[in-house]
């Protein structure tokens, strides 16, 4: 398994050190190569000079060999590690430095050796010593000889080694310092994260109102903190909504349950006639019906929340859907001698699930009928809006909705007049279902109302297309 430090701080430090180490290694490599090359350049220069010096010192011995005649005594064997060999072109050794201790600087010379300008090269002696070697052809009186001059590279490597030692000594110190520095730096940079984590730990479902403190909203950590706070805010809103919804739902469920229970208990207290029992049971069943309806509405909404509802979309005329919706509830309006007028262009088509959309409009109309006084007029007006939207207004002449209630009318179980609507058998979910239905169709719903001036609910839906062949399907007005 790979080694992986647990916290970011150590990981960052490790990376610092690794990067620095590889940079230093690269530096050392390049520097050593340069040093080596320039040292060898000097070396070679000296070697070539020596080769020329040797030429001047060559002297022929009577026995056919060659000797080096020194112009002054200490120049005969110029330096330690300075080797000379002289060969005849026929391949016989004429001279060898004593320092070579009979080791050959290579065998008898080839035909071309030393003919061109001498170029130093590295060769290895039989005893393992690496030497720099250059050779040239000279004439001793009338005889052609090949002169080889060589330097041991020992000194070169020694100098390089010393340089390396200095580097090796310095590197670990630099790395340790970098490690400490990096660790301190990472610690300082990450300190705000630690404090954020500590703060975040204290935030629980019960204390969602807490927020992280942000020192600098412009830097990266500040932005992270802001995003986190934003998430917290949304979470808090969702939690609050859920809490309110649960409380409301249990209240709504308790109301019919209380009714069932008390009606039953009271009925059992003394003997009654079958007709009276019948009435009691009927009354209990009515409450059961309400509970059923409530649980079904809740189920519909929770399915909608979970995204389980699949819309059976088709291109339909919004006006015809409005007419259908109106035909469902128009008898209620008739009872109150109200008039439902529907006007607009039947050619405006929306892509929608007919039943769901109709239910949304039915809910709006049902509300309008309930809240409007007798003999008033309810207007359903359809028009095309900006940006390819279709607008459907349901305008009533009811008492209007006080502005403080307006933002909440689409909330689940929200009631403007709590006693009255329950008496009418509403579940308090109608407008929530309507809003869900419209939003599921990528539309929106708003309410505009002034007290005493009636209310206007406006649905906006994306226009699917404009069909010149109008579909005037649906009920009458």
């Amino acid at each position: 398994m790979r080694f992986r430090p647990r916290n970011v701080r150590s990981r960052l430090t490790l990376w610092y050190v690794l990067v620095l180490a590889s940079l230093l290694a690269l530096y050392a490599g390049v520097a050593s190569s340069f040093l080596f090359l320039s040292l060898r350049e000097d070396f070679d220069q000296n070697l070539l000079q020596d080769l020329e010096t040797v030429e001047g010192m060559l002297a022929k011995e009577p026995n056919g060999l060659v000797s080096l005649r020194a112009s002054h005594p200490d120049a005969a064997e110029p330096r330690i590690g300075h080797f000379i060999e002289v060969w005849s072109t026929e391949g016989s050794l004429l001279y060898r430095s004593a320092a070579l201790q009979d080791q050959a600087l290579g065998g008898s010379p080839g035909r071309d050796e030393g003919v061109h300008d001498p170029i130093p090269a590295t060769v290895r002696l039989p005893n393992g010593t690496r030497v720099r070697l250059a050779s040239s052809v000279y004439h001793v009186e009338d005889r052609r000889v090949v002169v080889r001059a060589a330097y041991s590279e020992e000194r070169l490597w020694q100098e390089l080694g010393e340089f390396g030692e200095v580097l090796l000594l310095g590197f670990p110190i630099a790395l340790v310092l970098a490690g400490f520095g990096g660790y301190a730096l990472a610690r300082k940079a990450l300190a705000p994260i630690d404090s954020m984590a500590t703060q975040a730990k204290t935030i629980s479902a019960e204390r969602l109102s807490d927020r992280l403190s942000i020192e600098n909203p412009e830097d990266e950590l500040g932005k992270l903190g802001a995003v986190f706070n934003d998430t917290l805010a949304r979470l808090q809103a969702a939690f609050d909504q859920l809490r309110r919804f649960t409380a409301d739902a249990s209240h709504e469920l308790r109301t019919p349950l209380t009714a069932i229970r008390s009606v039953g208990e009271v009925a059992l207290q003394d003997q009654r006639s079958p007709e009276e029992y019948r009435d009691v049971i009927g009354s209990m069943l009515e409450e059961v019906d309400r509970l059923t309806r409530l649980s079904e509405s809740l189920l519909a909404l929770s399915r909608a929340d979970a995204g389980h509802v699949q819309l059976q979309r088709e291109d339909i005329s919004l006006l015809s859907v409005a007419r259908e919706a109106s035909s469902l509830v128009e008898v209620l309006a008739e009872e109150k001698r109200q008039r439902i007028d529907i006007e607009g262009d039947a050619c405006l088509l929306v892509s929608a699930d007919r039943l769901i959309l109709r239910q949304a409009i039915v809910n709006l109309l049902d509300n309008a009928i309930k809240y409007s006084p007798a003999e008033s007029r309810i207007l359903v007006r359809l028009q095309s809006g900006e940006e390819k939207q279709v607008l459907l207004d349901v305008i009533d002449q009811g008492p209007g909705i006080p502005s403080e209630h307006q933002p909440y009318v689409f909330d689940r179980f929200y009631r403007v007049d709590k006693a009255r609507t329950r008496e009418w058998g509403g579940t308090g979910l109608g407008l929530s279902i309507t809003r869900w239905a419209i939003e599921a169709h990528a539309g929106g719903i708003t309410v505009k109302s002034e007290e005493g001036q009636g209310s206007t609910f406006r649905i906006s839906l994306p226009l699917a297309k404009y069909s010149s062949t109008s579909q005037s399907k649906g009920g009458s007005q």
């Binding site: 079904e296 469902l328 039943l355 058998g425 579940t427 109608g430």
Partner: protein, 226 residues
């Protein structure tokens, strides 16, 4: 007519037994899937009412095993899970109809009647009750020989009630079959009340003998006797 009820909830099972026996069905109750499975193999039934959520053996399992063995008995599924997928699986596995809990009893009776009738040549009953007659093709209703003037919706409503005469019809049944509205979340109760009232005014008010009766908390019934 023998009906097997496979239902684990004792109260519901008892209510089903009593309600069905009142309608002159012979009822056998199995409290779990194993017993239901055994009974259906051992004895002969005209109809099985099967709860899907059973201890021991899942209702759907019972159903599919039955169908694999070639038993043709009609099966009515009861399910508390109001999910389309469940219904589809139920019908795929060979159920003939389903009912979602909580159901209205009149609805259950209507389904049971429909399933037992299925496959037999249906004798066309004249749409008549006491002195009320309906001619569906001409869309005319007569009471005591007098033509009653009805709107389209009122006619549909009266026709549905008459087709189910002497049976209690629930609001759900009316919403689905007369208004074609599947969602119970749609506020139709007030609408129904208005239509029933209007129908009463036209059909019953001029005569001594009342035909349309409200069964409080349950629904409506068209019945000749008081």
């Amino acid at each position: 007519m023998r009906v097997l009820v496979v239902e684990d909830e004792a109260k519901v099972a008892r209510a089903l037994r009593e309600g069905l026996e009142r309608e002159k069905y012979e009822v056998v109750v199995a409290p779990n899937g194993e017993e239901g499975f055994f009974l259906v193999n051992a004895e002969e039934f005209d109809l099985v009412i099967l709860d899907l959520m059973l201890p021991g053996r899942d209702g759907l399992q019972v159903l599919s095993t039955l169908r694999k063995r070639g038993l043709q008995t009609p099966v009515l599924i009861l399910t508390a899970r109001d999910a389309i997928e469940d219904r589809v699986t139920g019908l795929d596995k060979g159920a003939d109809d389903y009912l979602v809990k909580p159901f209205a009893f009149p609805e259950l009776l209507a389904r049971v009647r429909a399933l037992l009738r299925r496959g037999r040549t249906e004798q066309s009953q004249p749409l008549r009750l006491a002195d009320l007659e309906m001619d569906v093709t001409a869309r005319k209703a007569r009471r005591h020989g007098q033509v009653v003037d009805l709107t389209a919706r009122e006619f549909d409503l009266l026709e549905y009630l008459l087709r189910h005469k002497e049976q209690v019809v629930s609001r759900e049944m009316l919403a689905r079959n007369v208004w074609k509205e599947t969602s119970r979340a749609t506020p139709l109760d007030n609408v129904m009340d208005v239509h029933i009232n209007r129908l009463r005014r036209k059909v019953d008010d001029p005569y001594d003998r009342k035909l349309i009766h409200t069964v409080r908390g349950v629904g409506f019934v068209l019945r000749a006797e008081e």
